[in-house]
Amino acid sequence: MKFRLTAFAAIAALGMAITPAESKTFRWAFQGDLQTMDPHGLFETMTLGFQRNIYEGLVIRNEKMEMVGALAESWKNIEPTVWRFNLRKGVKFHNGSSLGSDDVAFSVKRLSTEGSDMKVVAALIKETRIVDEHTIDLVTPAPNPILPLQLEIFYIMDKQWAEKHKALEATNVKGGDEGNYANLNANGTGPFMLGARQSGVKTELVINPNYWGTVKGNITKAVFTPIAQDATRVAALISGNVHMAYPVPVQDWKRLDDAKGVKPLAGPEARTIFLGFDQLRDELLYSNIKGKNPFKDLRVRQAFIKAINIDAIKKKVMRGASVPAGLMVAPQINGFNSALNDRPSYDPKGAKKLLADAGYPDGFDVTMDCPNNRYVNDERICQASASMLAKIGIKVNLLAQPKSKYFGKVLAQNNYDTSFFLLGWTPSTFDSHNPISSLMACRGGPDKLGAFNLGGYCNPRINELAASIQSETNQEKRQKMIDEAFKIHKDEVGHIPLHQQPLSWGISEKVNLIQRPDNVLDLRYVNVN
C-alpha cells in the first residue's frame, strides 16, 4: 500500500512535469460495485467496461461504436480458420514492459484457467501461433467471421508481470489463491492506471503519461464510488459531489431538469426487454389450465402480443424514453434489419377473438415471473402488461422478486421454473448470432444452444441457421440467414419483444462525455471544464 502510494505520487509528479495543464478530477457513481480488477474474472458489462480504461484488447470500439485497432494495428482472415493479428509496436504496459505476441498467447491461455469467467471466449480460440514478436495467429475451431468482434472484451495482460506476482490463473473465488494479485492490482496498456482501491468503497484511476494513443478527454484522475441507494446517488449528483451518476430513476429526470448545473442524459440502450412463455412443457407449471399448454397454440401467443399496448407502456411507464421493438435485437446490433422491426398493432378485440378460436373464450390464469431490481422499471412493466392482459381475460398472477431470487428460479439450474416471464438481453458481442443461439435456438440439443431460451421455444431451422451464421464469412449471405431466423421467430411469436430500455444517466453540466449504448462509460472521452 505504502509502495503503491509512493509510486502513485511519483507518477503523478511525472505526469505534471510532462503536461503542465492543471489536473482535472472526474468523479462518478454507479449503483453496483466493480467485482474484480482481474480482466478475466467476470464477463459482465460494467466490470469489463471499467477495466477497458486500464486494460486493452486487440480491437476496441471508438466513440461511434466502430471497431478499430487497439493493440492490434491490423488483422486479417488469412485462412478460413486462422486470423492473423499484427500488434502495434512500441506499446508499453504500466510497469514499463513491452507488449509482445507472447503476452497475447499467455492471455488466451489464462482465459481458460479454472477461475476464469471468460471460458466462452477461450472456446473461440483453438490454438495460438506466435509468428514473430509482433505477429500472432489465432486459430479457430471452425471458420469464424466475427472473431475480432467477439474479442473486443478480451484484454491482454503482461506475461512477465503475471509470472512475477503469481497471477498466472484468473482470480478464483474458490481455492488457495486468496487475494490473487490481479484481483486487486492491475497492469494494462490503457490510458489510465489503477490508483488506490478499496472494494465496495472507492476506486481511483490516474492518467497514464506514457499512453501510446491519444486521449480525447482531458481528465487526469477519475474516482469511482458505488452508491447503491437511488436517492443517495441522485443527491450526490445534484449536490455536486459527483460529476456523473447512473442509473438515475426515470421518475427523477424532472428533478434533474429543475436542479441547477445538472441534467439527465438519456439514450437508447442496446438492451431489448421482452416477454417469453413456456412452450415446451405439456402442461404449464403455473396455470389453471390442466392437461395442456395453451402457449403451444400460436393463436394464444399472437393474442398476447396484440394485447400489449406498447405505446402506453412507453408513455406511462417509461416516460417516453423507451424505443418499442419488433425484433429481439436493437438497432445498434450487427444484423438488425429495420424492415423487420415492426410490431403487430395493439388490438384487444382481435386478441380476444384469437383466444376464443384457440378454445379459451374466457381466458385463463397464469403466473408471471418478473425481476424487480434488474431492468429499468421492470416490475412496473410487468404490472402494466398484466393489466393489459386482464382486458382479454388473462388473469396474471405477478411474482416480482429481486434478481438473485428471480434468476435463481427461472434459469437452467432450476430447470427453467417459469410459465411466463420478462427478461432483457444485450448481445455481448453486439452481433445477432448471440441472441439467435442463446435465446431462440432449441435448447437441450447436442449443439448446446438455447441456454437462455427460458420458454423452450423451438424451431430446428433456427439451430441450423445459428450454425451457418456462426461460420458464414460472406456478409450478404450471413445477413440473409439472420433475417430468416428473425422472421421465423417473429412469425411464430417465440417471444414478445417490448422495447429497448433507455439509458438513464445524470451528468453535471461541467462535463461532456460519450454515452455508449451498452451503458459503459469510456473515460477516454470524458472532458471536465
Binding site: M1, D33, Q35, T36, D38, G41, L42, F43, E44, D117, M118, K119, V120, T171, N172, V173, K174, E178, G179, N180, N183, Q198, S199, G200, V201, K202, T225, P226, I227, A228, Q229, A231, T232, A235, A236, I238, S239, G240, N241, A259, N373, P402, K403, S404, K405, Y406, F407, G408, L411, A412, Q413, N414, W425, T426, S428, N434, S438, K448, A451, F452
Partner: protein, 328 residues
C-alpha cells in the same frame, strides 16, 4: 468476576452457533448466488460446476458444519463478490462502523441525559414541552426518512455537508480514522445525527420517566428535609438512582446501533459493515452474511456482559448482596 466473564464468553459461543445455524438454514431462501458471480455468456455447465465447487449443492447442515469448522480456526472463506477473504473485508469496514456508532452513542447520551433531567425537573416549562414535542418526531420518523431529509437540506440545498461516504481517512496501523481530517469530520455529522436521533429521544424519555419516579421517593423527601442543596439532591441522589435502567437500555441500544446501522449506512453510502452486509444480501454473498451475523451476535453478548459488570459499579446494593452471599 473472572468466572462470570468466562461463563459469559462460553454463552456467547452458544449464541453464535445458534445464530449461524439459523442463518444457514435461511440462506437457501435468499436466492442463488451463482448468477451474480458470472456473466451472461457463461455456459450452463460452468455455472453448475461453480456451484459444485463452492459446495452449494450440499445440504445446509454440511455447509453449516464446514462453516463452523473453518470459523473455529478463524477462517471465514472468500467473499463471492469481492473475491477476497471475508476477514479482511470486515477488518476494513469495522472502523467505519465503530466510529459512527461511538459518535452516535456519545451524542445520544450527551444530549439525551441532560434533556431528560431538564424535562423532569421543569415539567411544565416551555423548553420542556418543546423537547418533548421534538422527541416525538425523533421516535416516530423512520431513520431512512430522517437521513434523506438531512441530505436534502444540508447536502443538496445548503451544500454544507457531503452527501455520502466517509471523506478522507487516516490510516493508523490497520485502523482507518475519519476523526483526523476535516472532510472526515464533516462526513460524520449527518450519519451520526441520523443514527443517534432515535436513541437520544429514547434515552431522554427514559431518564425523564425514571427521574420523575425517583423524585417522588421517600429518600429524596428526606434529603430535602435534611436541607441538602437542591443541586445535590437532584444530581447526587436522584440522577444516580435513575441510571441502572438507563445503562441497561443504553447498552442494548449500543448493540443495535452497531448492528442496525445498516439503514443509516446505506442511505449515506457509509462504508461500514452494515453496508457490506446489505450488499451481501443483494448479491447472496453467503460467506460475508454468515461472518457478519456471527460477529454481531458476539457483539451483543459482549455488550451485555459489560452492562452487567457496570451494574456492580453503579449499584452498591448488588455488591453488598454479593458480599453477604460470600460471607455465609
Amino acid at each position: 468476576m473472572l468466572a462470570f466473564i468466562l461463563k459469559r464468553l462460553l454463552q456467547s459461543v452458544v449464541v453464535m452457533l445458534t445464530v449461524a445455524l439459523i442463518a444457514f438454514a435461511l440462506f437457501r431462501y435468499v436466492g442463488d448466488p451463482i448468477n451474480n458471480m458470472v456473466g451472461q455468456d457463461t455456459t450452463l455447465e460452468e455455472r453448475a460446476e461453480l456451484k459444485e465447487r463452492l459446495g452449494l449443492n450440499d445440504p445446509f447442515i454440511i455447509q453449516f458444519y464446514r462453516f463452523v469448522r473453518d470459523a473455529s480456526v478463524g477462517e471465514f472463506g472468500l467473499s463471492y463478490q469481492h473475491r477476497r477473504p471475508v476477514k479482511e473485508l470486515i477488518a476494513e469496514r469495522l472502523p467505519a462502523t465503530l466510529e459512527l456508532a461511538l459518535v452516535s452513542a456519545i451524542l445520544a447520551l450527551a444530549i439525551g441525559i441532560p434533556m431528560g433531567v431538564y424535562t423532569a425537573l421543569k415539567r411544565y416549562g416551555f423548553l420542556s414541552r418543546t423537547f418533548m414535542t421534538i422527541s416525538l418526531v425523533g421516535v416516530s420518523l423512520p431513520t431512512f426518512l430522517i437521513g434523506i431529509l438531512l441530505i436534502l437540506f444540508f447536502g443538496v440545498i445548503l451544500r454544507w455537508l457531503p452527501t455520502f461516504g466517509r471523506g478522507d481517512v487516516v490510516e493508523i496501523g490497520w485502523w482507518t480514522s475519519g476523526f483526523l481530517t476535516a472532510s472526515g469530520l464533516k462526513s460524520l455529522i449527518m450519519p451520526s445525527i441520523t443514527l443517534a436521533l432515535f436513541q437520544m429521544t429514547l434515552i431522554m424519555r427514559l431518564v425523564r420517566a425514571e427521574m420523575l419516579e425517583v423524585l417522588r421517593a421517600d429518600f429524596i423527601k428526606f434529603a430535602r428535609a435534611r436541607g441538602l442543596p437542591t443541586r445535590a439532591v437532584h444530581f447526587r441522589h436522584a440522577l444516580k438512582n435513575t441510571l441502572v435502567p438507563v445503562i441497561t437500555i443504553t447498552g442494548l441500544q449500543l448493540g443495535s446501533i452497531i448492528a442496525f446501522a445498516i439503514i443509516t449506512e446505506s442511505v449515506f453510502q457509509w462504508p461500514g459493515m452494515g453496508l457490506l452486509f446489505i450488499q451481501a444480501i443483494g448479491e447472496v454473498d453467503i460467506p460475508v452474511m454468515a461472518a457478519y451475523l456471527v460477529l454481531i451476535a458476539f457483539f451483543f453478548v459482549v455488550i451485555n456482559m459489560v452492562v452487567d459488570i457496570l451494574y456492580f459499579v453503579v449499584d452498591p446494593r448488588l455488591r453488598v448482596d454479593k458480599a453477604l452471599v460470600n460471607g455465609q
